[in-house]
Symmetry: C2
Subunit: 137 residues, 2 copies
């Protein structure tokens, strides 16, 4: 399995709202600095709970994920990636409803030949005047 | 030079407002996803400009940096770290004025025996209701 295949798995898992496929690309000990709501998610169980809440909140909509400006480093058992991510919500009828963008950092390690994300960090920059997050580039 | 020494150099450079010491721990090609204002800083020149603005804005105050919950990965030429960072502004008389916290991710590579940060990502989580950043754990 190539490290870069994690992008495709992430994208497909989110579109299908498939919790197990989503979880499959993360390490059991994953630590996530997520854009929303809490300082850290520690461990895969906590992260899967987040994903369940996310997928449920979409109702009959789906999130289409696209990655832009991917930059990767890889050496032996350690790999990293940075990218811009766009989440576009589409309706059952395939209408684009809304979108937002993130900045993404991944740190992954290889165990038994399989890459797992050990750390994910997503965010948007914050406007210093309003303290509000900027959701589009 | 050990990878973990970058934390001490960062802390000292910020306290001293020493642009060159600050810049010394970053790679020429650094890409920064900073907490404030813009989507990305590409390259050391842009990042140094940010630091100049930051240090100047402090006036006679100084920022005391402390790192908490540091987690590191290192293998050959690639190393990563995650941490919580506290920036405490102190006056000339050493009074604590205010503080805020960040989540920090570093990706570094070794060139000619020297570690340089290739990617830095800092953020605070965003409250979903208000869209405002949360600045303290």
């Amino acid at each position: 399995m190539e490290f870069k295949s994690l992008f495709e798995t992430y994208k497909n898992a989110v579109f299908q709202k498939d919790i197990e496929a989503f979880a499959s690309i993360f390490d059991e000990d994953v630590q996530v600095f997520d854009m929303w709501g809490q300082w850290t998610y520690d461990g895969l169980a906590a992260w899967k709970e987040m994903a369940k809440g996310w997928f449920t909140s979409l109702g009959t909509d789906r999130d289409v994920v696209t990655f832009d400006n991917i930059q990767m480093q890889e050496t032996g058992e350690l790999a990293t990636a940075t990218a811009f991510v766009r989440f576009t919500a589409v309706s059952e009828k395939d209408e684009e409803l809304r979108y937002l963008e993130n900045r993404l950092t991944w740190i992954a390690r290889k165990k038994n030949g399989k890459w797992g994300i050990l750390h994910q960090h997503t965010s948007g920059p914050v406007d210093f005047e309003t303290m509000k997050v900027i959701l589009r580039r």
